[in-house]
Amino acid sequence: MKVSLRKAILLYLVAYIVVFSVFYLHNIVFTETVIYESTIIVGDNIGFDLNKTALTFGMITAGGTSASRDIIIAEADYLRSVEIYSNGEIAKWLVVPTNSFVLQPNTNKTVGFSVAVPSDIELGKYDGAVKIKLMRTC
């Protein structure tokens, strides 16, 4: 049995549009995304930053480990799958205990972020961001 090439291409196009739309809408409806700007200053001494709206680590020395910062994921009454992403200059120095986990209903979770910068980098300010994706699973 054979299928006309024109019909096949048309069906591929329709299938792509339908499936893409379903998954895209699913992402919009069932996924909550929170993005935190993140900054670290590499200097010749240590300083703290108490900004609570961003994931800032203050000033640390090259080769040192900064004090970690915590983000609390608030509870919800449904099961959620959590994924943590990072980007920017500090992404390669940022460490979390786990970047993917399941959060049970009515429980919150504190995620600790820490930064360890290598000793051979220039002094200055380094930026990045952390994205927390909360996907409602059922």
Partner: protein
């Protein structure tokens, strides 16, 4: 002349299209992001007393050593 393809090839193409379409929104959303780094766990393959080294974070000096006598 009307060109046609075998049904098996059509179905294979359809599965591929559906798979790509399902993954595309996630790829578009995460294309500038990478999963946050986690502490590295190194388990030496052949050690007489099964020593496991856990370094957290990668460049930190803290090392936990677990001895498992077997």
């Amino acid at each position: 002349m009307v060109r046609s393809i075998p049904l098996s090839l059509f179905l294979l193409g359809l599965v591929t299209v559906i798979f790509v379409a399902a993954k595309a929104p996630e790829i578009i959303e995460n294309h500038t992001w990478s999963p946050a780094q986690t502490p590295e766990t190194t388990t030496p393959a052949e050690t007489p007393s099964n020593i496991e080294l856990v370094v957290n974070p990668p460049s930190d000096v803290g090392v936990e050593v677990a001895f498992n006598e077997s």
